[in-house]
Symmetry: C2
Subunit: 142 residues, 2 copies
């Protein structure tokens, strides 16, 4: 047998611990995302590219992932950003407007970034940060 890396360099899922799965489920639906089968107000998932984005009650996720820690404050930024790239610069503004229309909070204004692209942020109704980005050299996606 070939030897394999014990920890494959891979991402299968991102799970957001939710105060209200129902509220976030409604938001991600309102931005046009389609749920996977088997979703309800206690658990839902969306296939984002090749990754699964899961929404799960934060108390239950914490019981698995951080059993000895208090839950973080509901409204504070969690220190992580998720990003999705779009194919054109104008798509950044369009996506941010669509997110705000669906109930997201706009974070600042989109701007030119020193890495050579253009991006802006929104926060979902529980504060998870999404960056919508355009990188001129990246216009096709898996």
């Amino acid at each position: 047998m070939m030897s394999v890396v014990p920890i494959p360099q891979r991402l299968t899922a991102v799970t957001l611990g939710c105060r209200s799965v129902a509220n976030l489920r409604a938001f991600y639906g309102a931005i046009g995302w389609r749920e996977n089968e088997g979703s309800d107000d206690t658990f839902t998932s969306f296939t984002i590219g090749t990754v699964r984005l899961a929404l799960y009650p934060i108390e239950l996720l914490g019981a698995e992932a951080a059993p000895n820690e208090p839950l973080a404050a509901a409204s504070s930024w969690n220190g992580i950003t998720l990003a999705l790239n779009v194919a054109a610069r104008t798509d950044v503004d369009q996506a941010l407007a669509a997110a705000v229309n669906a109930g997201a909070q706009r974070i600042g204004l989109p701007e030119e970034r020193e890495w050579g692209g253009y991006s802006g942020y929104y926060a979902d109704p529980e504060g998870h940060r999404w960056e919508v980005a355009w990188a001129p050299w990246l216009t096709e996606f898996e």
Copy 2:
């Protein structure tokens, strides 16, 4: 032109705000992950499947993503989990052991999950939670 979903159902990157990029860079290197070009102790990224995992100083990330909020406490769980699936049940134990060996903290013991698989968690040196999971029906990966 075809109309398009304004917010594509896609994930391009996950960025972890870091107290020390250097420390986390060393950890992710120690579990065997290869960095993308252009990495240094102020910014690094790893291609995990089709997604880019970026490590960036939390003050700088916060200045973009949460400019009006205090940073979360350094040691508290952030309410999110990242998961990577492996092809065999025994790979879960092997990967967790490798992570601990590289400096991760084991969170509980791996166990059978009600969703039909087997998984366990570790925390990286700044507390980001990774679930290593085996789902019997998912043994090939992109």
